[in-house]
């Protein structure tokens, strides 16, 4: 393994004891012969030690429990509080469902946005075709009037036959 690959492992799996026995042997072997990676490991350990040194502040103040007990024993009857609790519960229990529904809506929206230019184009093409057909009809109508005295268009000739 190259130093970059080893250092990726040092940042995660080795530091967190998630490395397999075989991989650990490979990493240890590399470390034995590479001072750069040894220095890198020391830096990772230094940072970890600093984070671990921030110990908890023990228990929260007693009033926190008193507030919790009070709220449990005297549940609020206000609509706002009830609605908030209900929404919290809904969110906690159905978060994956909300996420998948959101994704479906996003996909639908994407399809609509992507498809709309195509639909608009089609509509324009149809409108253009209609317009051209109307122009042709008008032209044939004019011709029909001007040629009505000749034999070129006899009585009972339908316009569609001329198109």
């Amino acid at each position: 393994m190259k130093c970059q690959q080893i250092q990726d492992r040092l940042l995660t799996d080795l530091a967190d004891a998630e490395l397999s026995v075989t991989d650990k042997l490979v990493v240890d072997e590399h470390l034995a012969g590479c001072s750069v990676c040894r220095a890198f490991l020391a830096s990772v350990q230094e940072v970890d030690a600093q984070i671990a040194a921030v110990d908890g502040s023990g228990m929260p103040p007693e009033r926190v429990w008193e507030n919790i007990r009070y709220k449990i024993e005297h549940p609020s009857h206000s609509f706002r509080e009830k609605a908030r609790n209900w929404l919290d519960g809904l969110w906690l229990n159905f978060r994956p469902a909300f996420a998948s529904t959101g994704m479906v809506f996003a996909a639908l929206l994407g399809v609509i946005v992507l498809a709309s230019p195509v639909l608009v184009q089609k509509e324009r093409a149809l409108a253009k075709a209609d317009h051209e057909m109307l122009l042709q009809l008008a032209y044939v109508g004019d011709e029909g009037i001007s040629l009505s005295g000749t034999d070129r268009i006899g009585e009972g000739t339908f316009v569609e036959d001329l198109l």
Partner: protein, 180 residues
């Protein structure tokens, strides 16, 4: 920490036994407070998180089937509540306090001063460099000793996402210390 929490105690708390619920609180409150404090970085917000977490636990115990360990479930609620408080803090400057909190209590100032000193430590400054997702993963690993698999189950994310967030978090910290 009080006595160990077994299924019987969870069952009694579920049925409304306040003494059993208090035992659960006494057992886990320190852990919740520790994680919350490091997530939200302010003792007042951390106390709010503790309240939100245990009120949610009390409401959710009825539906808690034991498919996940109680500890994992509480970690998950703690992280979610901390993230919500962080979001709220961005939206509102003032934090609404529950009944019973007296901001005029002089003990608040003394304790806040001590905690403030602790919060100014190098490690806290380092943690402040991380985004909430990275911080949650690194804290659950480095502080709470959860495995990648446990973190993934706690946060409902992929194990590779856990690995990536922890790696990014350590890179940020190393860079901040000038070691990378």
């Amino acid at each position: 920490m009080g006595p160990d929490i077994d299924d019987e105690m969870i069952g009694r708390a579920r049925e409304g036994d306040m003494a059993a619920f208090e035992a659960i609180y006494r057992y886990y409150a320190g852990m919740v407070y520790r994680v919350a404090l490091k997530m939200v970085m302010r003792s007042q917000d951390a106390e709010e998180v503790v309240q939100l977490v245990f009120l949610a636990v009390h409401r959710g115990l009825a539906g808690f089937g034991g498919d996940a360990a109680l500890r994992t479930w509480i970690y998950r609620i703690t992280i979610n509540c901390s993230l919500n408080v962080l979001k709220k803090r961005k939206t509102f400057r003032e934090v609404a306090w529950e009944e019973g909190f007296d901001p005029e209590d002089p003990r608040q100032d003394a304790r806040a001063a001590v905690e403030n000193e602790a919060l100014q430590s190098k490690a806290t400054a380092l943690l402040a460099e991380l985004n909430p997702d990275q911080k949650a993963c690194l804290l659950l690993r480095a502080q709470e000793g959860l495995s990648y698999d446990e973190i993934a189950r706690t946060l409902n994310i992929n194990i590779n996402t856990v690995r990536t967030r922890i790696k990014r978090a350590r890179e940020v910290l190393l860079r901040k210390k000038g070691l990378l």
